[in-house]
Amino acid sequence: MLNKTIVKLAIPLAVGALALTGCGSDSGSGDAVKIAFQGPLSGDNVALGENMQNGVKLAIEQANAKGDLDFKVEYVAADDQGLPDKATAAAQKAIDDESVVAVVGPAFSGATNTASPLYAEAGLVTVSPSATNPLLTDPKNEFKSFLRGVPNDNMQGAAMATYFAKKVQAKTVYLIDDKTDYGVGLAGVAEKGLKEAGVKVVKKSVPQKTPDYSATAKDVVNSKADALIYAGYYQDLAPFAKKLKDAGYKGAGISGDGSNDAKFVELAGDASENWFLTCPCTDATVEAGTKKFAADYQKEFGRAPGTYSAEAYDITNMIIEQVKGLKGDVQREALRDALAKASYKGLTKTFSFDENGEFKGTDVYLYQVKGGKIAYQGNVNELVG
């Protein structure tokens, strides 16, 4: 009875699985060049992915509309939910589509770490606007197809540490990572910077999706820390910030680009007030160079560009320019080598890479939540003076 039922269940499952594997590899049409974006397009941190996806889409649309290209650019979405265990499937989707010549992304460090060996093997270039874990460009990994379009967490973590040590003059800092590749990397650098500056550090790990942050908030208050660094994403920082407010925490708080999204303010409400946020990204709506981009973006998507929207837009344009340079014969490896050597002046900054694919440049910018808005403060190095 039982066996029969299981067999009955298993047959449609097996047939379904076979059918699914069959539809992975449809090859694209002649002239179209496809650019993929890999990042969270569903799941918990979808806002961060959509910010970038929209930047990529806008660049593609404008490039097609201009009419000076002798090929058509198409967009391909590779959703990895920002999760390492979903990243290989997403990468495989981009790799299997033969007309995909380059990938913007992967967005998150953990996902980049798992997807990069596949991309390296396929020779398919990935330029990430946001994966900031320093280890990703370690030559030992042999992530030959990975280029980073953003200063890494060594810069961001150091900027947090410097700002707290010099500007806030914190005596004790409570440092939290969320156990993701991104959070652990960022916290590690910040810890080093703080200790060098002679600041006492209380370091804890608080995994993502903790059901109740009350006890953690109490622990922060009890530690007598006068400043807090949260290395993680907005979805977890928001409830935590609320609990910190409830617990009567009065010190300063700072988080990185994983929290630098309007969604953080929306979720945490008043509790987000005065939080500092860093980002190697500029504010597209404030900087003069990106004002027009911000207006186009607003018109197209009905909202202001978010974290890394402008960077994703720049990177897409950089890819399109290199494709143009290859004059019709777009081989994946050739495009990868061309991009690795290229220098492109985008709206946000100049993109160029060292021999390991690391971004050349170190600027990190500071933001602070004020009156329910994330207000741009400027370059951290200049603020600290």
């Binding site: 799941g43 059901p211 109740d212």
Partner: protein, 307 residues
Amino acid sequence: MSLQEFWDYLVLGVMLGSLYAVIAIGYTLVYGVLQLINFAHSEVFMLGAYGSLIVLQLVNPGDNPSALASIGFVALAMAGSALFGGFTAYGLEKVAYRPLRRRGAPRLIFLITAIGASFFLYNLAGKLFGRDPLPLPEMYDNHEVFSIFGAGVNITQMLQFATAVVMMVALDMLVNRTKLGKGIRAVAQDAEVAGLMGVNIDKVISRTFIVGGVMGGVAGFLFANLNQVSYTMGFIPGITAFAAAVVGGIGNIRGAMFGGILIGIVETMTVPLLGDEWRSVSAMVVLILVLMFRPMGILGERVGRAA
């Protein structure tokens, strides 16, 4: 840990534990009458949170509502979550479990169906309400009301604890003093004999699901009020509450209450002693220890007997 810190964390632990207890009751009730672990209960909990969110978005509390209006908003949100939770649980029983029961399907199939229903429901919620977390509108200005042993208690925590206690006492009375309660106990003890004695088994099971669903839904609202609403919010509290139900003795209502509070305290105390990353570990260690020495749970299985 100083004595004051001990009290602080103990109070926080009891607060969190009372929520786990309310969710755990949903598992225990269903297990009592059907001998089925309803893994879709975490989705009943999640949908309850969405229910309160929808109601609050409709009535829109705005900024700084008056005290009386605040009470009204909380009551409406709670009613919304109870409705969503109860309806989801009722629907689950009707669509996913009753047809199997009619055909006398083996237990394993029930379990697979439960897991399938859970996947279906949370993906459906993601599709319907979006995959981005959403904040629950603020219904009142949260501030400290009183303190127990020097540990401050704010409105949110008071609401959470008081609601949980009221629901648990009401349930205890329902099961022990009403006709439905008698029916639940009879079906839990021996469904076949209860049927022969004139108990309408389908009705009792259906209502048991509704009672568990209402409680789970309200717990969803309280949790969302603590954090935020998202389609994936059910999983971790669901699994923890399930562990709590087993610790207390699955099928035993008072056991679920006891287990929930115990797990809440253990998890919270872990934070200052070992750190956040050990929370779930210590909860599971408690589960394993209990199962090693008392496989039936601390209070044992006894929905069928007078509690």
